[in-house]
C-alpha cells in the first residue's frame, strides 16, 4: 500500500513515516499544501494522512479538491485533539476517518488497514485480530464468526487493544482511553483489573486465539496465541 503523509511538523512526520515503513507500507511525504497538491495530482495513493493546518492552505481545501476531482484515494484527517469542528467538517467533506493528535502509531496503522479494507470490501468496518473481529460502529464482536456479548467497558477495552495488536499499552493510557481523561490520581487500578478479568474470561470461553497479556505489571499487550 502506498501512503502520502501530509504533515508540516518534521519530527511527527519522520516518526509516522518510520512507523508505517516498518509496517510494510510505501510512504511518501509532503510538508506543505503546494507539494501535497502536486503529488496528489501526479501520483496515485491508496491512503492520504491529511493534517488540517498546513503552510499555504487548509488540508480541508485539499480534501474538497480531491473529492471534486473524483479522486477515490482514502483520506484520514489528522488534527489537534479537541478540534471537533475539523472532525465534523472533514467527515462531512468525505474523509474516511479522523484521528486526533497525538495518536498512537499502532492505532494509525489499524485505522489505515480498516479504511483500506472498507474501500475494497464495501461495508466491512471491522477490526480483526486472530479469529476475533470487532465492529466499532455496530458494537458487534465475533469470535470465529460467533457473536459474543461484551459489556460497554469490556468492548471499549477490546476495541482499544485490537487497534494496537502486539504493542505494549500502559494500563494508565488504556484506562484514560476507556474511562476518560480524569483517571489520573487514581489510587489503584482495581476498576481496570475487574473489567480486564471479565473480558479475558469471555474471550477464552468463546475460544478466541488472541489474549490480552499483562506486561511487567505496567501494562498489557494483545497477542495471538
Amino acid at each position: 500500500m502506498k501512503i502520502l503523509i501530509v504533515e508540516d511538523e518534521a519530527a511527527l512526520m519522520d516518526l509516522t513515516a518510520a512507523a508505517l515503513r516498518k509496517e510494510g507500507f510505501v510512504v511518501e511525504t509532503a510538508m506543505d499544501y503546494a507539494t501535497a497538491e502536486e503529488k496528489l495530482s501526479v501520483y496515485g495513493y491508496d491512503c492520504v494522512l491529511l493534517d488540517v493546518m498546513l503552510p499555504g492552505g487548509s488540508g480541508l481545501d485539499l480534501l474538497r479538491k480531491l473529492k471534486k476531482e473524483g479522486n477515490r484515494t482514502n483520506v484520514i484527517i489528522v488534527s489537534a485533539k479537541g478540534s471537533i469542528d475539523d472532525k465534523v467538517n472533514g467527515l462531512g467533506l468525505g474523509a474516511d476517518d479522523y484521528l486526533a493528535k497525538p495518536f498512537h502509531v499502532a492505532e494509525l496503522v489499524a485505522r489505515i488497514r480498516s479504511v483500506a479494507r472498507r474501500s475494497t470490501n464495501a461495508g466491512d468496518f471491522a477490526f480483526r485480530a486472530g479469529n476475533v473481529s470487532l465492529e466499532p460502529d455496530t458494537g458487534m464482536v465475533t469470535v470465529d464468526g460467533k457473536e459474543i456479548h461484551l459489556l460497554k467497558k469490556e468492548f471499549d477495552i477490546l476495541a482499544y487493544f485490537i487497534q494496537r495488536p502486539g504493542h505494549i499499552v500502559d494500563k494508565t493510557v488504556m484506562a484514560e482511553a476507556v474511562w476518560g481523561d480524569h483517571i489520573d490520581q487514581a489510587d489503584d487500578f482495581q476498576f481496570v483489573y475487574a473489567q480486564m478479568k471479565n473480558l479475558r474470561r469471555k474471550l477464552s470461553a468463546a475460544g478466541a486465539d488472541i489474549e490480552i497479556k499483562s506486561v511487567y505489571g505496567f501494562g498489557y499487550k494483545l497477542v495471538e496465541k
Binding site: 511527527l12 516518526l15 509516522t16 474511562w179 480524569h182 505496567f218 501494562g219
Partner: protein, 426 residues
C-alpha cells in the same frame, strides 16, 4: 482618614493658631494705644496743674469724688534729686462716686517753684480694666473661631466634594477594576489638569497591565501549543521502541516509566492549553446543559474508578440546575469537582452532592480546611495530592465558572470541604 476630614482638621488647626496669635497681638496693640492716649492726657493735665500752681492760681477741685485726681506735696531736695524723672504706673484707686475700686493710671513728676522748693505732683485717671479687655478679646476671638470653623467645614464639604468628584469616580472605577470586572475606559470628565493626568496615568497603567497579562497568557498558550507536537513525538518514539522484541524486561520497564512521565508532562501541558483556550473564549458552541445528568454521570464514573475507597455517596437533587453553556466545559467542571472530592476523601469517607435550580454543592469529609484564597490558583498543592496531579483541576473549574459568570466558592463547615457553584446571585 478621608481627605475632606484631613483638610478640615488642617484648616481648623492653622486657623486656631492664626486667631490665637491675632488675639494676643490685638490685645497688646489695643492696650498700648489706650495707654499712650491716657499718658498724653495725664501729661497735659499735670502740665496745666504745674502751670497753675506756679502761677499761684487756684487749683481745680480735686478729691476722690472726681474721676481725675491729683496730689501735690513738698519733698526734700534730696528726694527730688533721687526721683527726678517722670514715672507712670498703674494702681487700684477707690472712686467714691462709683463706690468701687477702679484701675487707675498714675503719673508722678517733680517740679521746683520760685522759692526753690521741690514739689512732687501725682496725677491719676481711671483707666481700662485689662482683665476685662482681655476676657472680652478672648471671648470674641473664640466666637470668631467657631463661626470661621463652621464656615470652613461648610465650604470645605461643598467645594472639596464637588472638586474631588472626578477622584471619587476614578477610585470607584479602580475598585470595580480590581474586583476583576471590565469597567470600560477610565472616566475622564474633568477640566482639572491634575485629574486629567491622574486618569491618563491610571489608563496607561491598566493598559500596560492588561497588555502584559495578555502577553503572558498568549505566551503560555503558545508554549503549550508548541510543546504538544514534540511531546507527542517523544511518546510515539518510545512506543515504537517498546514494539522492539529485542528489548529486555529492564529496558521495557524503564521505557514505560519514561513514557508515563512524559504523559504527565503532556497532560499538564494540555490542561494549560485548555485553560488558555477557556480564558480566550474558544468554546463558542453552547447548548442547554442539565447539570443533574452530568453529576449522575460523574458520580457513576468516579464511584467505579475509586470503588476501592468504599466511599458513601449521596446525591440530593431538589431541582435540576440548568444553564446554557458548552457541554465539554460543563462536564469538565462537574467532573473536576467530583473527582476532587473523591481523590481527597479518606477511605470509607463520604461524598455528597446537593443541587437546587440555582446551583449545586459538592462536599466531602476532610481533615483540615484548605486555604480559600489559594485553592483556585494554579498549582495549589495539597499534601494528599497523588502523583500525576497537575494541580490545575480547580483552576480549570474556576476559569470555566468565570467565563460563564458563575459563582464558585470554597467553604469549610462541620469538618467538610464544600465547593459550591451557582448563578451569580447564589
Amino acid at each position: 482618614m478621608k481627605l475632606v476630614t484631613k483638610i478640615i482638621l488642617g484648616l481648623s488647626a492653622s486657623v486656631l493658631i492664626a486667631l490665637g496669635l491675632w488675639g494676643v497681638v490685638f490685645y497688646f496693640s489695643l492696650v498700648g494705644e489706650l495707654t499712650e492716649e491716657i499718658d498724653e492726657t495725664l501729661a497735659d493735665y499735670s502740665n496745666d496743674i504745674i502751670v497753675w500752681s506756679l502761677a499761684g492760681e487756684p487749683l481745680p477741685y480735686s478729691d476722690a469724688v472726681a474721676y481725675n485726681t491729683f496730689e501735690i506735696r513738698e519733698v526734700t531736695p534730696e528726694y527730688a534729686a533721687a526721683n527726678n524723672r517722670i514715672r507712670y504706673w498703674e494702681s487700684v484707686t477707690y472712686i467714691q462716686s462709683q463706690d468701687e475700686d477702679v484701675p487707675a493710671r498714675n503719673r508722678s513728676c517733680i517740679f521746683r517753684d520760685a522759692d526753690d522748693r521741690y514739689h512732687e505732683l501725682i496725677v491719676s485717671v481711671p483707666t481700662i480694666e485689662r482683665d476685662s479687655v482681655s476676657e472680652h478679646i478672648v471671648k470674641w476671638t473664640v466666637i470668631l473661631y467657631v463661626v470661621l470653623l463652621m464656615a470652613i467645614v461648610g465650604i470645605d464639604l461643598t467645594v472639596v466634594r464637588s472638586n474631588l468628584r472626578p477622584l471619587d469616580e476614578l477610585l470607584g472605577w479602580l475598585d470595580s477594576y480590581s474586583r476583576g470586572e471590565k469597567p470600560g475606559p477610565v472616566p475622564v470628565d474633568s477640566r482639572v489638569v491634575e485629574f486629567r493626568r491622574l486618569s491618563a496615568a491610571a489608563q496607561e497603567a491598566v493598559d500596560r497591565l492588561e497588555g502584559q497579562n495578555e502577553e503572558q497568557r498568549a505566551f503560555i498558550g503558545n508554549v503549550s501549543h508548541e510543546l504538544q507536537t514534540p511531546l507527542a513525538v517523544c511518546i510515539g518514539r518510545i512506543e515504537m521502541l517498546l514494539a522492539d522484541p529485542a528489548l529486555t524486561e529492564h529496558q521495557t520497564v524503564e521505557l514505560m516509566k519514561l513514557a508515563r512521565s512524559l504523559r504527565d508532562v503532556s497532560r499538564l501541558n494540555s490542561t494549560l492549553l485548555m485553560l488558555h483556550r477557556i480564558d480566550n473564549d474558544r468554546f463558542p458552541e453552547s447548548e442547554r446543559v442539565d447539570f443533574s445528568e452530568l453529576v449522575e454521570e460523574g458520580i457513576g464514573l468516579y464511584s467505579e474508578i475509586y470503588s476501592t475507597k468504599a466511599l458513601a455517596v449521596e446525591v440530593d437533587v431538589s431541582g435540576p440546575f440548568v444553564r446554557d453553556m458548552n457541554m465539554q466545559l460543563a462536564r469538565m467542571l462537574v467532573n473536576n469537582l467530583i473527582k476532587n472530592a473523591f481523590v481527597h476523601s479518606r477511605n470509607g469517607g463520604d461524598v455528597a452532592v446537593t443541587m437546587s435550580p440555582s446551583g449545586f454543592t459538592v462536599s466531602n469529609a476532610g481533615d483540615e480546611p484548605l486555604d480559600g484564597n489559594l485553592v483556585f490558583t494554579r498549582f495549589y498543592r495539597q499534601s494528599s495530592d497523588k502523583a500525576g496531579s497537575t494541580g490545575l483541576g480547580l483552576a480549570l473549574a474556576y476559569s470555566i465558572c468565570r467565563s460563564y459568570s458563575l459563582d464558585i466558592s470554597y467553604g469549610w463547615a462541620d469538618g467538610r470541604h464544600r465547593f459550591s457553584v451557582g448563578s451569580a446571585s447564589v
